[in-house]
């Protein structure tokens, strides 16, 4: 049987960084996939070399708007290693708080989007409504809903007041109730189970072999979490569980995120209860000594790495960033093999890439050179109308 090429991307709503995927399909089944990365090379690493360390902080924040705290935290930790400064204990706790608030909002976003992609718009709207609770908290704490600009080299930029702590705990309790309800829906709902269970399987051995990170790996039972295995901020003092699921399908990966959200709420509450007193930052000079710094952070999507070389001037000599979605590409390519075309969006969303606005898909028949162009809406419609054959 001849194969048909299906090109997704580079501008595709299901990707965080626009990337092009070429699917070789036989009928409805994907037999092979070729990713082509680097479409939106923004030159950020070069841009770091043009800015001093403080300016770079705001650039790092813009690598990814959704997990902006993970990026600034990782950036600040790498820079602190070069500067050789020790962060005060209160700042370490506040960093954990904002990092977890960021994780909650990122996870709720992607759980909602996953629900939308499998055709469950009600759940999507409800989750996004309740996500506003954590957005309001971030705004109260940092001064902006999304781009928080909270972490700085040597500490954090604002302190929290006792009133904020009271209010935050109340709001988080409300959110926790809601998330528990969504967990129940995700586990029990027959439509969700029909769409997600046994779709996009990734076995534990494959997850290790393909170096998957974050909830993608933990959904396959790989016990790896940077917060546990290379503690940073205050994670060595805060008790928390690493959420693991054994199933390794789309359903398990999303459930893993729901459980991580609940875990994050507990971490925030614990950290706010046990906040040490004292300074929130130490000042750093504009010029660091020459040296090298590496930092790992568990971003909402997985392990994130920043690596810096300093030559003693006020600007870094070289800055290197490795983001989790990049590390998950081989794993997601493996998941695609043998899936239905209609399952592609669900599998993509399960590794938590990002969504832009509109896209189209070209279906190209090589034999006849016939092109079919599908808009994103049509693809989604096709996906919703498609019924998987009963096994």
């Amino acid at each position: 049987m001849s194969t048909i090429d299906l090109i997704l991307g580079p501008q595709h709503p299901a990707f965080k960084e626009p990337e092009r995927f070429l699917f070789k399909t036989e009928g409805e089944i994907v037999v092979d996939v070729e990713p082509r990365l680097g479409y939106v090379h923004r030159g950020i690493e070069k841009a770091f070399e043009m800015r001093n360390y403080i300016q770079g902080l705001y650039l790092a924040e813009r690598i990814c708007g959704i997990c902006n705290v993970a990026h600034t935290l990782c950036y600040a930790q790498a820079a602190e290693e070069v500067y050789g400064v020790e962060v005060p204990p209160r700042a370490r706790y506040l960093r954990a708080v904002i990092h977890e608030l960021n994780r909650i909002h990122s996870h709720l976003l992607i759980i909602g989007v996953a629900a939308e992609l499998i055709g469950f718009d009600t759940l999507f709207m409800l989750i996004w409504r309740d996500r506003e609770i954590v957005m309001d908290l971030v705004e109260m704490m940092t001064g902006n809903r999304v781009i928080s600009a909270y972490i700085t080299i040597g500490g954090v930029r604002r302190d929290v007041s006792p009133e904020f702590i009271e209010k935050a705990k109340k709001m988080l309790t409300k959110l926790e109730e809601r998330v528990k309800y969504y967990r129940k829906v995700w586990i029990e709902d027959p439509i969700i189970r029909a769409r997600c269970v046994e779709v996009g399987k990734l076995s534990k051995a494959d997850a290790i072999k393909l170096c998957a990170v974050g909830p993608t790996a933990r959904g396959s039972g790989v016990n790896y979490d940077v917060r546990r295995h290379r503690p940073y901020a205050a994670y060595d003092e805060i008790p928390f569980n690493v959420v693991l699921r054994e199933e390794g399908d789309v359903w398990a990966r999303v459930l893993c995120r729901i459980d991580e959200t609940l875990e994050a709420i507990n971490i925030v509450k614990y950290a706010l209860d046990h906040l040490p007193s004292g300074d929130i930052r130490v000042k750093v000079p504009i010029r660091p000594p020459p040296g090298e710094g590496v930092a790992f952070v568990e971003a909402p999507r997985g392990e994130l790495l920043h690596h810096v070389y300093s030559d003693g001037t006020d600007k870094p000599y070289r800055w290197r960033v490795r983001t989790p979605t990049y590390a998950n590409i081989p794993a997601v390519c493996h998941m695609f093999k043998g899936c239905y075309i209609a399952d592609i969006p669900a599998i993509l969303v399960s590794i938590d890439p990002c969504f832009s606005c509109t896209d189209r898909v070209t279906i190209l028949d090589i034999r006849t050179n016939e092109r079919k162009i599908l808009t994103w809406t049509q693809l989604k419609k096709m996906f919703r109308e498609f019924r998987r054959p009963k096994a």
Binding site: I54, Q55, Y58, T122, M140, G143, A149, V185
Partner: protein, 114 residues
């Protein structure tokens, strides 16, 4: 067969008020206290040291020379509202505000100069 858990929630939402508000026609949502808005500089306090221009991550501050001294000019259309300038100013000449409604048909409104 059991009814899916979402059904009850869906029906209870039929009789609720919308969670969204019509901004700015019916209601205006005030930002939380401490919201990062436009930075406003007080030129009578500014000493022209230029630190704010040196630290601004989006190169929104330009130093000009007028009457034999330097002044910072803020190009707000480039500003990303990070308040780094507020933080570094040694004489606290830059005041943070909570203004966020900036659309205008005159670009000159978005330049703060002495």
């Amino acid at each position: 067969m059991r009814l899916p858990a979402i059904i009850k929630e869906t029906f209870s939402n039929l009789f609720r008020k919308p969670a969204t508000v019509k901004v700015p026609i019916e209601e205006k949502l005030p930002p939380a206290p401490g919201y990062r808005g436009v930075p406003r500089v007080d030129y009578s306090k500014c000493t022209g040291c230029g630190l704010c221009a040196r630290y601004c991550p989006s190169f929104a501050i330009e130093l000009i020379t007028k009457d034999k001294r330097r002044y910072p000019v803020f190009h707000i259309y480039r500003c990303i509202f990070c308040h780094q300038c507020v933080e570094v100013c040694p004489v606290k000449a830059i005041k943070p505000t909570e203004e966020y409604e900036l659309s205008t048909d005159r670009p000159s409104d978005l330049i703060i100069k002495p």
